[in-house]
Amino acid sequence: MVSKMRQAAESEEKGNFRKISRDKYIIAGIVTFLIFSLGITLGVILEDYRYTAIEEINLEQEVKYLSLQSQYLYLSSFSNYDNCPILSTALKETMEDLSDSLSEVITSEEEKKVSDTRKRIIMRRYLLDNLRYWLLARESKEKCNLDTVNILYFYSVECPSCPNQGTVLTYFKKLFEEKLLVFPINLDFRNEEPLVEITMSQFNITKYPTLVIDNKKYEGVVRKEQLQQIICNSLRQSEYCNSLPSES
């Protein structure tokens, strides 16, 4: 017992070279805090800038859409002209712009749920744009007899097999380019956007993913071969369809 106490006292005495550099810990804490707050502030500023840029793009697309719609209206009111070539080139150009900038939005969105209010508004606007373009594309296809395939793609962030369908669609978009028009509709917005509800009830959508290809509904994931067949059946000519045996 005594020896233990002596030992303890001895070690206490021996430990007197130990110091605690308290001021350094505090300064290090403050510096770390400052660096982190600087980083977070910068992040917030960058995020803000990002949204402004996205909004600008949206605005530009809206103007483009307006222009396209006016062209369409104008040309269709003088129906004795053969105005379709002009319309189809205009449509193609706009579509390419839309798919370029917005495919990035889908891929980033597929991975996580959108919670930010600002982002939700942007996404909702994007959704509306897609529906409008789809209507226009459908109408111009009927009137002008364009050789395109319009696909409405209903999906949800929660559905596990939707990314698979997305991959297949992206693949065909790359393959057929301007002949294939894909309009992704995120069904998570149906509580906020009544138009989604309308489209859903019109096509009687009950499960994800669902594709509507030229007014025909395909439920569940449509595989690559099957989708190629469907697309090729509605296209009049395409270099990628020749190899298919069951082409009608």
């Binding site: 430990g15 070279f17 605690i20 550099s21």
Partner: protein, 360 residues
């Protein structure tokens, strides 16, 4: 799962930044004393020093190691060299016997294979030196290192200073892996130098740490059950309130693993040993009695090892999940990637940069 990973990542960021800033502050504070710390090989007394060389299947390098000991700038009659052949299966014993024939201060001890710590303990019992050093048979010591280290003992005049650690360097780095390690070892020399000023050293490297014989004997020698006995002894010394200092230019050259597999095995042993040691000495964690060592170093080690384990898991997760997704996508399009290549546009705009989500 994602949230857990994010939180862990943020803890890792904050902790590593905090300790880096702290070390920087220590550096700025001690900058002046760094300059005064010039190496000195002038010593008044020449105490007897024992060099222990444990060897297990080291026929390729052992002679070079002994040669470096032989070339130490120190009086031969004050230097005792004990080579412990730890039941080698190769020619180590024969080669060493030949080498030490007409060198009276070199002695060879042989026993069946018992491990490095046991070999050193056996030699420690026979050692006559006031100080002793261990030198792994794959390492080579600089001729002046011993004098520089003894100068630190002499200059310090503190009976509680019981270990002086060397500055370890990689011996002739050839391939990339060794060069990376060379860089790492050099950075570690600086970190150890800073830690030495804080009395926070927690490892006495196997190659040529110089111990005070009497104290190490009193503490019971090396732990034969620990896989990293060189860390365990340092922790034990710290626990008993003894001091460890580094000799910043006492160079020792060690052979770093050339291939991935031995490299992995070495690191695994080190890090596993670290975790075991931290667990074994957990009473020191955040213990004010141990000053900076308890408050900072032990917490840092604890955090470091926990975070590195989780870090590896996260890295695997971050690599494997996208890899899996990529493979799945390839299967979905039947590995037909040419439309992607055909349409590949290298268009990097400012917008792309803005759309990148850096948190992912």
């Amino acid at each position: 799962m994602n949230n857990v990973i994010n939180i862990l990542l943020w803890i890792a960021y904050v902790a590593s930044l905090y300790f880096s800033v702290f070390m920087l502050l220590v550096y700025l504070d001690k900058k002046k004393s760094f300059k005064d710390e010039a190496s000195n090989i002038n010593i008044a007394k020449y105490p007897i020093v024992t060099v222990i060389v444990p060897a297990y299947n080291e026929e390729k390098t052992v002679i070079k190691t002994l040669e470096s000991v032989y070339n130490l700038d120190y009086p031969k009659d004050k230097l005792e060299v004990l080579i412990v052949n730890d039941g080698s299966k190769d020619n180590t014993e024969k080669i060493v016997t030949e080498y030490i024939q007409n060198k009276p201060n070199f002695k060879l001890l042989s026993h069946s294979n018992q491990g490095k710590a046991a070999s050193m303990n056996r030699a420690l019992k026979k050692a006559q030196g006031e100080f002793f050093a261990c030198l792994d048979a794959d390492s080579f010591v600089d001729p002046l290192t011993l004098k520089k280290m003894l100068h630190i003992y002499e200059h310090d005049q503190d009976q509680n200073l019981v270990i002086v650690t060397p500055a370890m360097k990689v011996y002739q780095p050839k391939n990339l892996l060794q060069k990376v390690q060379w860089l790492e070892y050099n950075v570690l020399i600086l970190i150890a130098r800073l830690s030495s000023h804080l009395d926070c050293l927690y490892v006495a490297p196997g190659p040529f740490s110089l111990y005070r014989t009497e104290v190490i004997r009193k503490l019971g020698g090396f732990d034969e059950h620990n896989i990293t006995e060189d860390q365990e002894i340092a922790y034990r010394v710290q626990q008993h309130q003894y001091r460890i200092k580094q000799c910043p230019d006492g160079y020792v050259y060690t052979t770093a693993p050339k291939e991935i597999k031995p490299f992995y095995r070495q690191r695994r042993r080190w890090y596993l040993g670290s975790i075991i040691c931290v667990h074994q000495y957990k009473k020191l964690i955040a213990n004010k009695k141990y000053g900076d060592f308890g408050i900072m170093q032990m917490v840092k080690n604890l955090l470091g090892f926990t975070l590195s384990v989780t870090g590896i898991t996260i890295a695997a997760y971050l690599v494997l999940i996208p890899l899996f997704r990529y493979l799945k996508n390839m299967i979905l399009i039947r590995f037909n990637i040419w439309p992607y290549l055909y349409n590949f546009k290298l268009k990097i705009t400012f917008m792309n940069f803005l759309l990148t989500d850096f948190r992912k």
